[in-house]
Symmetry: C2
Subunit: 221 residues, 2 copies
Amino acid sequence: MPAAVEPVSVARRSGKSEVHILRRTQEQRTAETRAALFAAAVATISRLGYSGASNAEIADEAGVSRGAITHHFATRAAFIAEVVRWVFEQEVAAYQQIQRDRHVGTRVSDWPAISWEVLSRPSGVAVLEIFVASRSDPELASLIRPAQQAIEEAAASAFFDRIGATVRDPAAIRLVVWAVRGMALGREFIDDPGSMQASVDLLTSMFARLSPSGNLEELIG
Amino acid sequence: MPAAVEPVSVARRSGKSEVHILRRTQEQRTAETRAALFAAAVATISRLGYSGASNAEIADEAGVSRGAITHHFATRAAFIAEVVRWVFEQEVAAYQQIQRDRHVGTRVSDWPAISWEVLSRPSGVAVLEIFVASRSDPELASLIRPAQQAIEEAAASAFFDRIGATVRDPAAIRLVVWAVRGMALGREFIDDPGSMQASVDLLTSMFARLSPSGNLEELIG
DNA sequence: AAACATACTGTCAAGCATGCACGTAATAAT
DNA sequence: ATTATTACGTGCATGCTTGACAGTATGTTT
């Protein structure tokens, strides 16, 4: 049936050959579809929660069929693991961009606000949900474990280097990251989500009062 | 078939009637089975994660059949919601017992350690997993919402009353509770789970240094 | 332009979880 | 004792999700 509709790339007859208005290289098609799938996964998990985010839902959100997911990723666990890595890359970039654009991050008291801004976004909460889900999925757990370690080290470097820390005690950074993650998650379950900001501000002010100079030793000493 | 095996309550013939060694009232049977199911739910969620904790797994862990769950709870969501309430009751009791037995809780700097001790237990993490799962289950979400509010108020009272707070600012208590929950969750995903204690200790020392007197105004001021 | 490679779609089978219906065992009531 | 009521076990049916496969469309190479 040559009269079939072509939803995405509209075709026209010009002479004998068909030229497509939207002509993309295979590389572009792959990159765009994968990006759309990653974004759709985050959006769908944010909207429906992890177990509500089936491949069918994600594919619908991305405007493709489930087969596209099957084609690009060997298994669902592999797909989700790549979603995690994609988000991590964006988070690292966001850390750096915030530090650069707003000239913050040189003092430890900047950490809570920066972490909150990055990790409280839908993608941050989505990744946390994936982490929780990985506890019932050994395959997924084994795939995201290395990614988790990588992000932990990347975040640590981004923070420690910025303040010029002499001791790289992970306790402070873990406190900030997981406390902020916990608050981001908790925001989903309280009546007034905006009120969680006050708790973040309190953590920030505690950091600032304990380390006026902004260095880490003063805080952990 | 009178020769059938009776696995739990052994029967003996004495004269014409059968007396059972383990004779419990219906009330006792119900209470014990429900308690076993609650404990089994927590244990199974801790071991396999929420979506790995099917009713079949939980029933196996409790030593009963799936039918027992069906009998006692109208639906799975109702079952899980009662698990949450059961855990909350235990948590409130644990808060009070710790404060009583160890004579702590009169200073805000006691909060992190007490919260950690209670919320980092398997049941605390299990409840958090249930909360996350409720995002994809509207029925479950609507059932645990009131329980969540109740525990929040109960915890607030337990803490505020104990330190004799004049201002009952929820920001501090939310910071502690959700930061601790986040750290308890994070502990499941780092290489050395024991190292999270250092972050809890850091939070504790920050509270102590900012509020040597132990009252809340000093901390949030 | 023809042949090939890659991207994507639609359908099907298998597995698993929940809820339901019915059967059996244990306790309570008469 | 008997009958009733409650507690619990077991098999069936439905719905949903993932993975597999065969087919179609689009892009690339020669």
